[in-house]
């Protein structure tokens, strides 16, 4: 899909008619459109317009649970001007897809009546041009055609915003849900999921019948399995509830921040607090990763406690080796034969009690049988390896402890700064600000305790799942014992086996797609990273639990140690891989919208992004603010020869936004320099 032109009329901040012509690949190498404006000018609004036009959707994933009434689309000034009369709001899109041209228009009508605003669907019209012929598409077929071009379930992958990127860098329930939902949408496995649930129902109902049967052991196992599965169900439900509560709490915090924002005098403190909180979340994530690393090294570290023993035993065996005792220079069975026959191998007699006899007894005592000698040699080899690593293990332990200490110290620092900032906000003369701030603190504390509860429940759930597998195995054995003559048991076994088979296939699929996404993300990661990153970081992996991990050049997990910028690159690579896989081709066929992606990126990272994204996206629409898109970035973009259009979103006198096209060559004049911020 290539966007050519968009016309918005009375849509959100855009009063009247506004046209945006995108640069298209057919116009040459250029495929990057920059839409530039301060926060709140309507950059995301333009993406929202496209989603509305294509799917009739008002809601974006970032809106969360915001009520539909607050997501109104009709321009407020127009509603006020035409109070009591309907106002038409429309979005028209001209695009091409696989050599066919489309012109889609969607409109709603709105009206302000007193304090209330009403909106209703008004028009949906699609024209298709093929081989020079243009014809209207029946209204009933419009949604189907659009869905075939771009599945509505994957649409959210094509808008990269800071929040999404932030969510993906945190190993939280939200991150895993987002990734899991993304992959499931990609696979389009609704029928398979329904089939698994349906056959599961059948299996459960058959087992319920069986549990009322006279087979005691079977009944016991079924009861235990039932209890276990009920417990899992409760845990999963609670996890979902917790994830929702956390999400709502975060949204409430955002809302509170917006309220606090109204108090101008504390604005810069609010921004400072926001930045500190982001930093704090980052550090807390590092704590999680560091604790995971600690768990991984406990075994290695523990052996240091008995290091003196290990060394002593190693040296003892080593000595025995050197003395020829292990392996014995003379076999034990030979010595035993000599003693029994009381005759040496040279033929001379050996009398009991003689010196020779004592020497031979001595040898016998020092030798052991072949099996023991082999085992001792094996042990010597293992101990040698363990011993050789002591120094490195001790260093690793010290390093990890130091690292942890540093992170904690940084967190303590950030918390002190946060307290200071909160005090500044709190001492504001506006009482409302203090109340809002207190409310905010409560929400933060609530989030912390909800996250702790979620971690706890996740652990218990994992234990239950493992227990379930063991119970199912025992149950199957029991059913088979009974099943030879019992039809109900046979049915039950068949239903469970089928459920297992379908779940297996589902796991295979998701595994294959995770590997595919991982490979694709890794390829992108490698081209987007800076030089240092490329040397140290090898690949991105989607784990079995849908969390993301970065592996270093030794293929060891390294996520805890990467910088904030590298995390951002990791997220962008992952989302782009998801988009690429959704597009099922080498180039992402859907326009990529990136909302302020440069946030915490170093110069080299920005450069790589600017050079590489136009290569794997057919169209790149960059939504940028003045702090993000400066002369530096503009120059990089110009040099890449991929930049085709530049639009500025300007505030009008009546508080609306207008779209003004600016010539690229004179763009530098309106952009700031790095020095302007110092």
């Amino acid at each position: 899909m290539i966007l050519h032109k968009m016309t918005v009329e009375n849509f959100r901040q855009f009063r009247g008619k506004h046209v945006l012509e995108f640069v298209t690949p057919s116009q040459g190498k250029a495929n990057v459109t920059v839409i530039f404006g301060e926060n709140g000018r309507g950059k995301t609004g333009l993406f929202r317009a496209i989603m509305f036009c294509l799917f009739g959707e008002r809601r974006l994933s970032q809106d969360g649970d915001v009520p539909l009434e607050e997501l109104q689309l009709v321009n407020i000034s127009a509603l006020v001007e035409y109070l009591g009369q309907p106002v038409l709001t429309s979005v028209e899109l001209e695009f091409t897809h696989r050599e066919q041209s489309y012109s889609l228009r969607r409109a709603i009508r709105g009206m302000k009546d007193g304090e209330q605003i009403f909106e209703e669907d008004y028009e949906k019209r699609l024209f298709l041009t093929s081989d020079g012929n243009t014809k209207p598409v029946p209204a009933t077929e419009v949604d189907n055609i659009i869905n075939n071009i771009l599945d509505r379930r994957v649409k959210d992958y094509f808008l990269f915003d800071g929040e999404k990127i932030e969510r993906l860098t945190r190993a939280s329930i939200e991150q895993r849900r987002e990734i899991s939902a993304g992959i499931r949408n990609l696979l389009n496995v609704d029928a398979l999921e329904t089939a698994i649930k349906a056959i599961g129902r059948v299996a459960k109902s058959l087992e319920s019948e069986l549990s009322n049967s006279s087979h005691e052991e079977l009944s016991k196992l079924l009861k235990r399995l039932g209890d276990n599965e009920d417990a899992q169900g409760r845990f999963r439900k609670r996890l979902d509830e917790l994830a929702d509560e956390i999400r709502l709490a975060r949204q409430e915090i955002d809302k509170t921040d917006k309220e606090l924002d109204k108090f101008n005098e504390i604005r810069h403190w609010l921004e400072r607090r926001k930045s500190l909180e982001l930093e704090l979340r980052d550090q807390e994530q590092q704590v999680e990763d560091a604790l995971k690393e600690m768990r991984n090294i406990v075994c290695k570290a523990t052996s240091l406690i008995v290091a003196p023993t290990v060394i002593k035993v190693f040296e003892h065996i080593d000595q025995q080796k050197q003395k020829g005792e292990i392996p014995s220079e003379i076999r034990r069975d030979l010595i035993e034969r000599i003693l029994e026959e009381q005759k040496c191998i040279c033929g001379s007699k050996i009398c009991v009690g003689s010196d020779a006899y004592s020497h031979i007894i001595d040898w016998l005592e020092r030798t052991s049988d072949v099996k023991t000698q082999d085992a001792a040699l094996n042990l010597w080899r293992y101990l040698s390896e363990v011993r050789n690593h002591f120094s490195d293990d001790a260093d690793l332990v010290e390093k990890r402890l130091q690292q942890y200490g540093n992170i904690r110290s940084t967190i303590a620092n950030i918390n002190r700064n946060l307290e200071n900032v909160s005090t500044q906000i709190g001492t504001s003369e506006r009482q409302d600000a203090t109340k809002l701030d207190d409310h905010r603190k409560l929400l933060q504390d609530n989030i912390i305790s909800l996250e702790a509860e979620a971690r706890n429940i996740q652990g218990q759930l994992e234990q239950r799942v493992q227990g379930n597998e063991r119970l199912r195995a025992s149950l199957k054995e029991e059913k088979m014992k009974v099943g030879r003559n019992d039809e109900l048991s046979r049915r039950s076994i068949l239903a469970r086996d089928t459920q297992d088979a379908l779940e297996d296939v589902y796991k295979q699929f998701t595994r294959e797609i995770k590997d595919l996404i991982g490979e694709s993300a890794t390829q992108l990661f490698q081209v987007l990273l800076d030089k240092e990153g490329r040397e140290n970081l090898r690949s991105i992996v989607v784990n079995a639990d849908y969390s993301l991990q970065v592996l270093d050049r030794y293929k060891k997990p390294f996520l805890a140690n990467i910088s904030a910028g590298q995390r951002q690159i990791m997220s962008i690579s992952f989302i782009a891989a998801l988009a690429k896989t959704a597009a099922r081709g080498d180039k992402i066929e859907i326009p990529l919208f990136m909302d302020t992606p440069f946030g915490r990126l170093s110069y080299e990272h920005r450069q790589n992004l600017i050079n590489q994204v136009p290569l794997f996206a057919s169209q790149w629409i960059l939504l940028a603010t003045d702090t993000e898109f400066r002369r530096q970035e503009a120059q990089l973009l110009k040099r890449s020869e991929t930049w085709g259009k530049f639009f500025i979103l300007r505030l009008t006198k009546d508080g609306n936004t207008e779209i003004v096209e600016q010539d690229i060559n004179s763009a530098l004049a309106v952009l700031r320099d790095e020095e302007d911020y110092q």
């Binding site: 029928a191 086996d497 089928t498 088979a501 296939v505």
Partner: protein, 56 residues
């Protein structure tokens, strides 16, 4: 189609499992979970009887 790919992957399972799984998927393309579960009860009964017949 995704369903065809899934059915391909089921080929390593016993015949009755394959048949039941295939039926479950095909039905799920058009019906709700509850409706599919109800219809599958009959299929399971038939296949279990078939298993008994095969083993005798």
């Amino acid at each position: 189609m995704i369903s065809d790919k899934i059915i391909e992957k089921l080929s390593k399972y016993p015949d009755e499992v394959q048949e039941l799984a295939t039926q479950a998927i095909r039905l799920s393309e058009s019906f709700s979970e509850a409706a599919v579960a109800e219809q599958l009860q009959t299929v399971v009964r038939r296949l279990a009887k078939q298993q008994e017949g095969d083993s005798q």
